[in-house]
Structure formats: C-alpha cells, structure tokens
C-alpha cells in the first residue's frame, strides 16, 4: 500500500510555517463543548496511476480482492477513501463492535467525470447509452454507502458537503452523530481533487492527485450532559466509552417528556452495553459555539480544509514551541497551534491545541495528545 501512495502532507511543519495564523478571539467561549475522541487517522494523496492500481491491488480486510462490479464502476474518490480507511483500520487496535460503526463521507465534486462522460454519451447515443450504475456509484451518498458495504458497517451512513468547504460539514455532522447516535463510533472520510507541483519542484507542470483522509472517532465520556436519550453514563476522564444510550433507557435513568405514554416500551434488548475495553484517544476534537451571534468582523475566519486539518494531525508535538497552559475557557494568546505541559505532573502529558474560528459555527479545536506521536511514527514508517 505504501508504495502506491504519496506522502501527505509533503512537508511536516507547524501551522505557523504555512501562514495559517489567527488572532485571539475577543469573545470568551462558554465552558460547554461537544467533543469526540479521535482514535486514529490516515491520509494519502493518490496520483492517477496509483488510483488505477488500487482497483486491482486493494484487498478487503478478509484478504479478498474488491468485488468485480465495484472495481468496474467505483468513482476514483471512492477508491481513495477506501484505501485510507483500510490503512487506518490496520493501524487501529481492535475496535469494539466494529460492525455497528457508522460512516459519514464528504467527497468534493463527487462523480463529476462520470457525469460529464454520461452527458457526452447521452448527447451522442441517447438515453439507452446511460449506465444504470451512474447514480448508485457517483452521487453524494455513494461513497459512504460503498464504505458501509465493503467494510460491513451497519451504523448510519450518509454523504455530507459535496462541494467546497465540505470538511466543516463533515466534522459538524460527525460530532453531532457521534455524541447522539447509539453506535460505538463513526468513520469520517473526506476526499477531494488537488493539483500539486511537479515532482521535487523540477517541473512546472502540476499533477492532479486525489487527497483522501479518514478519521475514526468515538464518543468521549462527556462533561456536558446531552439532552438526549443517547446520553452516556460518565466514565473516568479522558477515556472513551463507545456504548449507547439505550442501556440508560433500560435502567430507567432518563425519562422522556412522553414518559406518561401508556405505550412505553416494556423492555429493551439491552444488547448495547458499554464494553469493558477502554480506548485511548490520540486526539480530541471539540466544538464550542459562540455565546451570541457574531459578525464576520468580530472573529476572523480561519480556513479549515483537509490540508490544514491533516497538517495539524501530522505535525509532531515537539516541533511546536512550548507555551503556558491556557485557560480552559479562553482562546490561545497567539497563534492557532500551541503546545502545553500541565504543571506539577510527574510524567507530563504534552498536548497541542489547534483552533479554527468560524463565525457562523463557533470554534473547532483539535487537541492532539502525546500518544499521537506513536501513531505518527507508524505512519512515517509506512510512508517511507
């Protein structure tokens, strides 16, 4: 797999090097936040030839080749997404109830080439020339559906975004679904076409690549109670609890407003339990909303695209200068990326914080924990 893939991001560096800086926000953020744990991530930029190779070389988790019908009709973005999802799956420890996970996928301009080719065929040869596989394989829902089928995921699956800025849609929908749906976790996948400079800068030509990233996210033991039947029992801080709210219902811990209904369920299956295995997140994604509606002028917009998120995920903690610990409810003093070492800890747990400011959404914050370094080294070896 590694030999088929181009390393992304091509230069490991801090966010500041790329000029993605943000002034501190004057708005104090509320304490409450939605947060999910990121168990792992994977990303690659595939050239056109590499995408063709994936059609024949990719193997499903059981070692089988891809189904013939899939190989023949799949969009290139689907292949790229599948490759990074499989790569991530290999890197992760065994997941609890993997077949119950959901998948959200955010491709960019998905199916454009197939649509244009179909339009050409329609113009030349009429309706009979249109493949019945066009819509099933090349619409916004198709990528998540394909991953659901190929990876055997029975949780919710749908496509989000579809155009520019699709990553914000993916993260918002992914966080909301992860904290509310009665499933252990979600695969969040994004893809898009990019043009990269020629090899080693020796050529002025640009090469199209399909950039793909996959995140495996899981519910955290939340500090914030959700007004939801999917709420989880609190567990120890920092651990992930990939269970469901249905157990709570079974225990009668939460009453819905319709609790006086004469038709209340008499029993629940109780099949969804919080597994005893605890998973450690390698990063935490938090979403805090502004306390009031903001104007554009009050909070500068920080670009959030796949490249920026990947750069943040792949940047080694050691490469970022140390700062004082931040106040939990305030913005960093300067810069989007800061590195923290909580004082007084015998074995300091360093982490980095990246924040993206979106006036209509709030603040999306990525906290990368020390354990992330382990995955990073694995990723580097694979890519080498």
């Amino acid at each position: 797999m590694a030999r088929n893939c181009r390393q992304f991001p091509p230069h490991m560096g801090s966010i500041e090097e790329k000029g993605v800086r943000c002034r501190a926000s004057p708005i104090r953020l509320p304490h409450s936040a939605i947060q999910v744990g990121i168990l792992g991530w994977s990303s690659y930029a595939f050239g056109l030839e590499q995408l063709q190779q994936l059609r024949t070389e990719l193997r499903l988790p059981d070692g089988q080749p891809l189904p013939h019908a899939f190989v023949r009709h799949a969009d290139e973005q689907t292949l790229a997404a599948l490759a990074v999802a499989l790569q991530l799956r290999e890197q992760l420890p065994p997941l609890p109830q993997p077949e119950r996970w959901g998948v959200l996928a955010a491709p960019e301009y998905f199916g454009k080439e197939a649509t244009l080719a179909a339009l050409q065929r329609y113009s030349l040869d009429g309706p009979g020339a249109i493949s019945p596989h066009l819509i099933p394989n090349h619409c916004l829902h198709s990528l998540s559906g394909s991953l659901s089928v190929l990876l055997g995921l029975h949780g919710p699956n749908y496509g989000v975004g579809g155009g520019p800025g699709q990553l914000v849609d993916l993260l918002l929908a992914g966080m909301l679904e992860t904290v509310q749906q009665p499933v252990p976790g979600f695969w969040l996948v994004a893809t898009g076409w990019r043009t990269l400079p020629g090899e080693l800068g020796l050529s002025n030509a640009t090469a199209p690549v399909c950039l793909a990233m996959a995140l495996a996210v899981c519910r955290m033991s939340s500090e914030e109670p959700q007004a939801s039947t999917s709420q989880l029992r609190s567990t120890e801080a920092g651990s992930l609890c990939p269970g469901s709210g249905e157990q709570q219902l079974a225990n009668g811990e939460e009453q819905s407003p319709g609790a006086d209904s004469p038709h209340r369920a008499r029993e629940f299956s109780g099949s969804e339990r919080c597994p005893s295995a605890r998973l450690s997140p390698r990063a935490v994604l938090r979403w805090q909303t502004w306390p009031r509606i903001l104007d554009e002028s009050e909070s500068p917009r920080t670009p959030l695209q796949m490249e920026t998120l990947l750069r943040a995920l792949h940047t080694p903690i050691a490469s970022v200068s140390m700062t004082a610990p931040p106040a939990e409810d305030d913005s960093p003093a300067a810069g989007t990326a800061t590195r923290h070492r909580p004082a007084g800890e015998r074995h300091p747990r360093e982490f980095m914080v990246y924040r993206w400011y979106l006036p209509e959404v709030g603040v999306l914050e990525l906290r990368k924990l020390h354990q992330a370094e382990q995955l990073l080294s694995v990723w580097r070896e694979e890519a080498a």
Binding site: I34, V103, Y109, G111, K112, L116, A118, L119, Y122, S123, L124, P127, G128, I130, P132, L134, I135, P136, H138, C139, L140, H141, S144, G145, S146, S148, V149, H154, G155, P156, N157, Y158, G159, V160, G161, G162, G163, P164, G165, D169, L172, L176, E177, Q180, W193, R194, P208, A227, S228, T229, E246, S256, P257, G258, A259, S261, H263, A265, E360, V361
Partner: protein, 441 residues
C-alpha cells in the same frame, strides 16, 4: 433546552405537484389525487419511462424580488420557496436575523444537477467534446467550452446558458445568505432516506443546544435526462407510460417500478420550551429517529430484514415506545417489486404482531418518488395526517400482493385517531431510517 424538552416542528414549507403548501398538499393526498403525468419539461422520446410527477411551477415568495428570482436555477428556487414558507409559517421571518438558525439541507445531486443543466445549455445534441479530468471542478463552463459558440437546441433544463452557470459556492451557503440566516449549514445526502436524516440531524443539533432553531428538509428535481435514463435503464421505473395515473402501484400485485417525482419540504425545528416561550403553534413533535445500514448492496435491498428492522426498533427505543403505540405508518414502498416485498418483511420483523393492526399506506402512489426529497415530503404527509386525523391512502392498490400482507389503506383516506405516526425511508447505499412524530395537543 432542558432534558425534558422535546423538539417540535413549528413551521413547514413545501412544493410538490400536489400543492405548494401543507393544506393544499394534504387536501390532495386525502382526496387520492395523483400528480403523475407524461413528462412535459424535457423530450421524453427514447426514455424507458416517460411519466413523472413533475414540479412544473415553483411559486415565488413575495419577499424575493422578481429580478432576483429569475436569476436562480429551479433547484435553488425550490429550496428558497420551501425555506421562506417554513420561516413565515413559524412566524420567524422578521426575527430570523436575531436568532441562531441552522440549515440542514438534503441535496442528493446538487452538483450533478448544475453540471447537467450547464451541459444542455451549452452543448448540441450529437456534439462530441473532450472531457478533462476534474481537478478544477467548478470551472466546468471553461473546461467544456467547445460548444459555447454552437447554436444550442432547446434545452430541457435551462433556457439560456447565462442562467446555467455552475455556482462556485454550495447551495446551502447561498440559501443561508439570501435568507439572512446566521447559523451553520450542512448539506447531506442518503439517497431516498435523505429527508429523514436531515430531520434527525437537525433534531440532534437542537438537543445539543448549539442552535436556537434549525431549518431542515430536502429538495430534489430529478426529472432530468440523466436521472430518467439511469433509473430507467436500471429497470427501477414503471413503464406503464400509457396509464400515468395508474402507474405507481405500491404493494399491488401488478406493480412494475416507481415513478419519478419532484418537490421538496423544509421544516422549522425548535425546542418545545422555545416554541412555548414565543407562543408558536406546534405541528408535531419529533420523538424518535432510527438509522442503520444494510451493508449488503448499493442498490438492491437486503434480503435479510434485520438491519432495516433495527432502524425501526431504534426509533421506537429513542421514543421509548412499544410498536403498538404507532397509529399510522407511512411506508417507503416505492412500488418496485423487490422493495415493497422487502419492506413488508421489515415491518413484520420490527413491529411483530402489531404489524397486522397498524394502518400502512404509501403516499408515493400519488406524489411519485421524489428521490432525495421523498422522505421530507412524506414527513409533511404525516404532519397533514396528524392535523386532519385522517390517513392518506395508497391509490392503485387494487389487488394487494400476498407477499405484502399489511394493514393497507387502499384507494380512500380513512379517518382515525392519530397520535403517533411513523415514516420509513430506505435508500441506495443501504440507508435505512425511521422517523416518529407525535401530535402535540
């Protein structure tokens, strides 16, 4: 939002061939009117299926100037009409800039719609062009400009090329800006289950207190050359071209496929405490949502009913209800031989013995199958049923298929005491969803 709050629907805007507001739409459904005709807005010769429930005219909201309206593509007009009507019905139009209103819009084929529209506005039939690789996706006009100076034949989708530009910004963002909404936006697609997912996600959003209100729904205009050809060649569409009104026959022994439909519906969702505070009239409470995936095939429903039945069970568990609480089930039932049979097995597995008593109908027999927008329109049909305390029928159900043995409501609407209604929607990609609504007294 307190833990005891519910999420209420306080406004709805819709457009369908059966009416462009909830009252008209409900009247049509309860009278058993069918919106299916021969296709009129594009040449249908050569298409396997030449019938559809087309949306031929989209009303313009008074608040949108005519000049602005005329610059918009029909899909954008549709979304705008639905959103404005929903906000006005919820009595929020004049307060919208003071509230954090989110937008979750189901658009299954937003970009393909614009690519196709642009293509037919700028290319001649029979003309061959080189197709570049899509690394500059939004610049489709430039990439395929080889036909721009060739006279264009009557386009099925756009009257002139200037109106058919491919936008560079997602429709939801343009819509939010035009409406002056100040909250976040999300586009989502789960094929035929899109509308249910949009309502489920918006409900989550309200419950997590990230928004004051949320507009959610779905819109689709799939009567286009590509979509009609693709679904036709898939043999999913009815070929009863000489009997449009009798073509869509969910659960009937002689069904031969679904009929394409068009339309959209948007809903205003807010917490019950917010609605009470501002004296809003609730249309229904969203009390349950369940979603799963078949994980078996992109197109063919799973022969094992368990995954889809699990979606129904999750919705019931979410609402803390037993199956016999459901007073009416609006089935997905598109009228395909396989789909209706599979859904029947799903309903029996999920509801058990209650399945023999719960009235079931498919409003697609009248609206056609609006694909991405189908479940949003069916949620509106459920609101109408709750309001009028009457179950809309499945028309054309002359001879129920023995393999689709359910408590059908054939031909004519049936008055009933409706408190809780369910809506199933299953889609390509193996998406299974169930939505539960409750009447708010």
């Amino acid at each position: 939002m307190s833990p005891r709050d519910e999420v209420w629907i306080t406004g709805v805007g819709l457009a369908s061939p059966l009416g462009c507001d909830l009252a008209q739409f409900t009247d049509s459904l309860l009278q058993g009117r069918c919106g299916i005709r021969r296709v009129s807005k594009m040449p249908a010769a050569g298409l396997p299926s030449q019938i559809a429930a087309e949306l031929t005219e989209i009303p313009r909201p008074e608040v949108i100037p005519l000049e602005e309206w005329q610059t918009l593509a029909p899909l954008e007009q549709l979304a705008l009409w639905c959103a404005v009507q929903a906000l006005q019905q919820a009595d929020l139009w004049h307060q919208r800039d003071r509230l954090r209103i989110g937008l979750v819009c189901g658009l299954g084929a937003e970009w393909p719609y614009f690519w196709e529209r642009h293509w037919f506005a700028t290319h001649s039939v029979g003309q061959k062009c080189e197709i570049p690789h899509p690394q500059e996706p939004a610049a489709i006009g430039k990439e395929t400009s080889c036909g721009s100076d060739i006279p264009t034949p009557a386009s099925p989708l756009a009257s002139d090329s200037a109106q058919a530009e491919v936008p560079r910004e997602p429709l939801v963002q343009r819509l939010a800006r035009r409406l002056g909404l100040r909250g976040p936006t999300i586009t989502l697609a789960a094929a035929c289950a899109t509308g249910n997912y949009a309502l489920g996600l918006a409900r989550n959003w309200i419950r997590t207190r990230r928004l004051d209100l949320c507009l959610a729904g779905a819109c689709d205009l799939p009567v286009t050359p590509l979509a009609m050809s693709c679904f036709g060649n898939l043999r999913a569409l009815s070929r009863r071209n000489d009997q449009p009104q009798a073509a869509c026959r969910p659960f009937d022994r002689r069904r031969d496929g679904f009929v394409m439909g068009e339309g959209g519906a948007m809903f205003v969702l807010e917490s019950s405490s917010s609605a009470r505070r501002r004296g809003a009239q609730p249309l229904a409470a969203i009390i349950g949502f369940g979603a799963t995936s078949d994980a078996s095939h992109l197109v063919i429903p799973n022969s094992d009913p368990a995954p889809a039945a699990e979606a129904m069970r999750r919705a019931l568990a979410d609402a803390q209800l037993a199956p016999d609480a459901i007073d009416y089930l609006n089935a997905h039932a598109p009228g395909t031989p396989v789909g209706d049979r599979c859904e029947t097995r799903v309903i029996h597995l999920a509801l058990g013995e209650a399945a023999t008593r719960i009235p079931v109908s498919s409003t697609k027999s009248m609206t056609g199958h609006a694909v991405t927008a189908a479940s949003a329109l069916e949620a509106a049909a459920c609101l109408g049923a709750l309001q009028r305390q009457t179950i809309p029928p499945t028309i054309n159900l002359d001879e129920p298929d023995p393999e689709c043995a359910l408590c059908h409501v054939p031909h004519q609407a049936r008055p009933a005491r409706l408190r809780i209604v369910a809506s199933n929607s299953f889609g390509f990609g193996g998406a299974n969803t169930t939505l539960l609504l409750r009447r708010v007294a």
